[in-house]
Amino acid sequence: MSELTESSPELRWRAGRRVGERVIAGLLFLCGLVSVLTTVGIVVVLLTESAGFFREVPLVDFLTGTQWSPLYTDQQFGILPLLNGTLLIAVGAMLIALPVGLTSAIYLSEYASPRVRGVVKPLLEILAGIPTVVYGYFALLFITPLLRAVFPSAGVYNAASGAIVVGIMIIPMVASLSEDALSAVPRALREAAYGLGATKFEVSTRVAVPAALSGIVASFILAISRAVGETMAVTLAAGATPRMTLSFLESVQTMTAYIVQVSLGETPHGSLEYKTIFAVGLVLFLITLVMNVISNRITTRFREVYE
C-alpha cells in the first residue's frame, strides 16, 4: 500500500484491479455458461447423430413399428416395444412408490414427532443414496427368486422385479418432495380445521394434502421421469427382450436397457445399429425433459401461492 503516496502507481494499481475484476467476472460467467453448453451439447449430439438414422429409417416407421430388432439380421426399427417396456416398468414402479411415498410423507409431516423424523429422514436418504447397480443386484438375486417362488410362470428376467426395485428406489424422492410440500402448508389452515372439530385424519387428508396437491403432483411427475430414465436395475432384472406386453412376469426391454446392450456389444461405430442408440436416447431425453419441465412449472406456481 506504499504506492498510495505516489499518484501514478496508485492509478496503475487501481486500473489493474479493475481489469482483474473484469477477467474474473468473465471467467465466472463462462462457468455459468457450461451448464447451458451441456444442454446444447446433448441436443446437438442427439439430433445430428439421429438425423443419420432417420435418413435410413422413416420417422413414422420408427414411432409406430411394433417390432424392434436392430441387432438381428431381420432388422426392424419400431420403438413401441421399448416404449412398452419402459412404461410397464414405470407404471409398476409408481404403483409402489406413489402410495408408499405419499403416506410416508403424510406420516413424517403430520404424525411423526421431531425425534422420529430425525431418525427416519436420514434412513430414507440412505435408501436414496444406494447406487442403482446395487438395486439391480437386489432385484435379480433376491426379488426375482422370491417372485418365482410365488409365481412359477415368472421368467428369470421379468418386468415385475425391475418395477419393484425401481419403485423402492424412488420412494424416498416422492416422500421427501411431498413432505416438503406438506410442511409448506400454513399451520393456520390446519388449526382452522381443528377448530371446526376435524380429526387429525381429516385435517391431513382433506386440508393438508389438497393444499399441498400441486407440490405432491410435481413430486409424482419427477418420480415417473426418474423411473423412465432408470437404467442399471432394469438392465439387470428385466432382461433384453423388446416385446409388446402388459404382463409383469415376462422379460421386457426398456429404452435405457437397450442403449446399454448396444454399448456393451461390438457394434461398429457409424453403423445403422450404432445410430439407434442416439435415436432411442433422443426419445428418452424428450420424454424426461417434458416431465421435468411440467414438474418445475408446477413447483414454481406452488411456491408463488405461499410466499
Binding site: 484491479r17 475484476e21 467476472a25 471467467l27 465466472l28 460467467f29 462457468c31 455459468g32 455458461l33 457450461v34 451448464s35 451441456t38 444442454t39 451439447g41 446433448i42 449430439v45 442427439l46 402410495p99 408408499v100 403416506t103 410416508s104 406420516y107 404424525y111 435408501l127 443414496g129 444406494i130 447406487p131 442403482t132 447397480v133 446395487v134 438395486y135 443386484y137 437386489f138 435379480l140 438375486l141 433376491f142 423402492i168 424416498p172 416422500a175 380429526t199 385424519f201 381429516e202 391431513s204 419427477l222 430414465g229 432408470e230 437404467t231 442399471m232 435405457t256 442403449i259 446399454v260 454399448s263 456393451l264 461405430h269 436416447g281 424426461t288 416431465m291 421435468n292 419441465v293 418445475n296
Partner: protein
C-alpha cells in the same frame, strides 16, 4: 364436540337432527390411517435392512484382504477389485478437480454477479432441468463429445469429464444455497472499507460458505462414484489387468465390476459382486459421514 350442533344459528338448526359427529368411528378411521402410514415408513426401512442384509450375507465368504489387492480373474477364488478401487479413486479426484471450480464458479456468478434478467433465468431453469436428465443421456453425450470428438478415448479423463457434467447441477445448486446463506451484512461491511466485488467474495463470502459448498461437493462425488450407466456408455472395461497411472489410461470402476459379476450366471461371481458392493457402500458411507460431520460443525458454528 359431543353436542349435535348449536341452536343460535339458522343453518345449524336446520341440520340439527341430521348431524351426528360419530367421533368414535372417525377416530378409529384415523388410527387405521396412521397405522397404514407407519406401515409405509416401515416398508421402506424393512427393504433397506433386507437389501443390506442380503448383500452382507452373500458377501461374507468373499471379503478378504486378497480380494481388495488382487486383479479380476476368470477364477472366482483369485478375483479381486484392486483396479476397480483405484479407478474409483482416480474418478473421484478427477471429477472433484473438474466440477468444483466450474460448479462454484457458476454459483458465484449466479448469486453475486448475474443481473436479474432473461439470460440468468434461462441459466437457472436450465440447471434445474439438467438435474433431471437421465444419467445414461450424459453417457451418450460423453461418448460423442469426450471419447470421439475430443479424442480422449475410453480414458479415465473421458469418464471423469462425463461424470463431472452429470453432477455439475447438484454442485451448483448446493453452492448457490451456501452462498445465499451468507449474511449480506458481511458483504456490506467489506464493501464499506473499499473492497472490490471479487475481494468481498474471495475473502468474506467464500470462507463462510465453504463448509456448505464442501458438503454438497462430497454428496455429488458419492453420486458420481456410484454411477454405472454413463461409465458403461463411454466404454469402461470390466477386466482391467493393470492399475491406471495417468488420466489417459483405460480403467474400470466398482459399479462396472459389480454389474459385470452380477450379470454372470455362476453363483461364485454373485458372491464377488456382493463383496464389491460392500466395499462400495462402505466408501459411500464414509463420504456421507464426512458430509454430515461438516454440516453439523457448520451449523453449530453458525449458531454461536
Amino acid at each position: 364436540m359431543n353436542g349435535s350442533g348449536s341452536t343460535d344459528n339458522g343453518h345449524a338448526t336446520a341440520d340439527d337432527g341430521r348431524f351426528t359427529p360419530r367421533l368414535a368411528r372417525r377416530r378409529r378411521i384415523g388410527q387405521i390411517f396412521e397405522a397404514a402410514c407407519l406401515a409405509s415408513i416401515a416398508f421402506s426401512l424393512v427393504m433397506l435392512v433386507t437389501l443390506l442384509a442380503d448383500v452382507a450375507v452373500d458377501a461374507a465368504a468373499w471379503l478378504s484382504a486378497d480380494f481388495l489387492t488382487s486383479f479380476p480373474s476368470r477364477i472366482p477364488g483369485r478375483a479381486g477389485i484392486k483396479p476397480a478401487i483405484l479407478g474409483t479413486v482416480w474418478i473421484m479426484i478427477l471429477v472433484a478437480a473438474l466440477s468444483f471450480p466450474l460448479g462454484v464458479g457458476a454459483a458465484i456468478y449466479l448469486e453475486e454477479y448475474a443481473p436479474r434478467g432473461r439470460l440468468t433465468k434461462l441459466i437457472q431453469t436450465n440447471i434445474a432441468n439438467l438435474a433431471g436428465v437421465p444419467s445414461i443421456v450424459y453417457g451418450i453425450l460423453g461418448l460423442a463429445i469426450f471419447v470421439r470428438f475430443f479424442g480422449l478415448g475410453r480414458s479415465l479423463l473421458a469418464g471423469a469429464a462425463t461424470l463431472a457434467l452429470l453432477v455439475l447441477p447438484v454442485v451448483i445448486i448446493a453452492a448457490q444455497e451456501a452462498i445465499r446463506a451468507v449474511p449480506s451484512s458481511l458483504r456490506e461491511a467489506a464493501y464499506g472499507v473499499g473492497a472490490t466485488r471479487w475481494q468481498v467474495i474471495r475473502h468474506h463470502v467464500l470462507p463462510v460458505a465453504m463448509p456448505g459448498i464442501l458438503t454438497g461437493m462430497i454428496l455429488s462425488l458419492s453420486r458420481a462414484i456410484g454411477e454405472t450407466a454413463p461409465v458403461i456408455m463411454i466404454g469402461a472395461l470390466a477386466f482391467v489387468a493393470f492399475t491406471p497411472t495417468s488420466p489417459m489410461d483405460l480403467f474400470t470402476v466398482l459399479p462396472i465390476q459389480i454389474f459385470n459379476w452380477t450379470a454372470r450366471p455362476q453363483a461364485e461371481f454373485h458372491g464377488l459382486a456382493a463383496a464389491a458392493i460392500v466395499v462400495l457402500l462402505v466408501l459411500l458411507l464414509m463420504m456421507n459421514a464426512t458430509a454430515i460431520l461438516l454440516r453439523n460443525r457448520y451449523q453449530s458454528k453458525r449458531g454461536q
